[in-house]
Symmetry: C2
Subunit: 198 residues, 2 copies
DNA sequence: ACACTAACGATACTGCTAGTTCCGGAACCG
DNA sequence: CGGTTCCGGAACTAGCAGTATCGTTAGTGT
């Protein structure tokens, strides 16, 4: 989203410091996760990044564009697609990486921030949706493989099963309840599977 | 929360218009549900209520106090505690009234607003928590009766079962996905029960 | 070398939004 | 009536997004 206005004639004048972009997005992300969009000011972001405000606005046309760019850098957390051979193993591996993420300071702040701002800004909502869908797609793929193997009933509602596991985390983040821990993963997965096993 | 500063000597001076309080909280609630806290201005609330801004601030010391008072008036939605004799019946009745609520314009807006602002304001979080807990307590009571009757395993994780059903709605509100409908209730309840039946 | 150009940090400035307070007048009590 | 509180509208104010300017700096191209 940055560099929309690439200069016509490259190579003339002082080049942009290649590290400045990431210094700014990192500072923005930290403040956004800490305080949310409305309570984060561009002045603060610039100060924390150690740059002038003009340097920020040379890269992104508005605070909102900056916020989206900053969230994009966080959003890239990778979840491996597991294929352990059993549906318990796959689902547990998938869920375990999510639970581990949600139990870090950054992960929890990311979820809180995304949930709050999703209802305010459509682009942030799209980012959150797509990070959620990526994770869910892996789980769905595992479930479909399990159906082929005969572990899971053919008429199982795959979408619902997947959303159960994610929904419980979402709901607890909002309510400020303690999140599921790694040692709870197997129990929750078993619980969910019981509904759709053959 | 209003009238913290009740005048020492009542009956002196011009009395407050008894309808003004509710006119203001109603206007505030409408705008809060429509736009959320940050995008709602006290000017708008006063204009919509047909009063001056000073009249608002005579009653609540800050915009945040007003918002809490406005949410309190909405929070009183009642859900009947069902006791149909079977666990399917109880859970379905409980969930059905929640799904019906979530599928109204006001209900959906209430959930969206509560979810967003819960992470911003602890008092609104407390309101949302207590409306959620009231509903969950009913479901938990049903499940405990079912355990006594022998319909449900004694070691069933009652809390988790209850949170599954609520969590799926929460997650879908945030992601902007279509909510479960009344005709989906039985399926979802059956799905959940399969995990904990004897 | 040297002129040219764009980026840089700092700072001041502008325009606007929105929370909060002030004011002159009106309503009500005793 | 006199004192008190309420009322709506207007004024005040702080904060902040976004822009402009300045002296400086790090490159490019000849």
């Amino acid at each position: 989203m940055a560099d929309l206005d690439v200069p016509r004639r490259r190579g003339r004048g002082r080049p942009r410091d290649p590290e400045t972009d990431s210094k700014i997005t990192r500072a923005a992300a930290e403040l956004l996760l800490l305080r949310g969009f409305d309570k984060t000011t561009v002045d603060e972001v610039a100060a924390r990044a150690g740059v002038g405000k003009a340097t920020v606005y040379r890269r992104w046309p508005s605070k909102e564009d900056l916020a989206v760019a900053a969230m994009e850098t966080l959003y890239s957390a990778e979840f491996p697609e597991p294929d352990t051979g059993t549906i318990e193993g796959d689902l547990a591996a998938n869920y375990r990486s999510f639970i581990a993420f949600a139990n870090t300071d950054t992960g929890l702040a990311y979820l809180r921030m995304s949930i709050t701002e999703s209802l305010r800004d459509e682009r942030i909502a799209a980012l959150y949706r797509s990070s959620t869908e990526r994770r869910e797609n892996d789980a769905r793929a595992s479930l479909r493989r399990a159906i082929e193997r005969g572990e899971v009933r053919r008429d199982a509602d795959v979408d619902t099963a997947v959303q159960y596991l994610g929904g419980i985390v979402t709901a607890r983040v909002i309510l400020g309840r303690p999140l599921p821990q790694l040692e709870d993963v197997d129990t929750l997965v078993q619980f969910t599977l019981r509904g759709i096993r053959r």
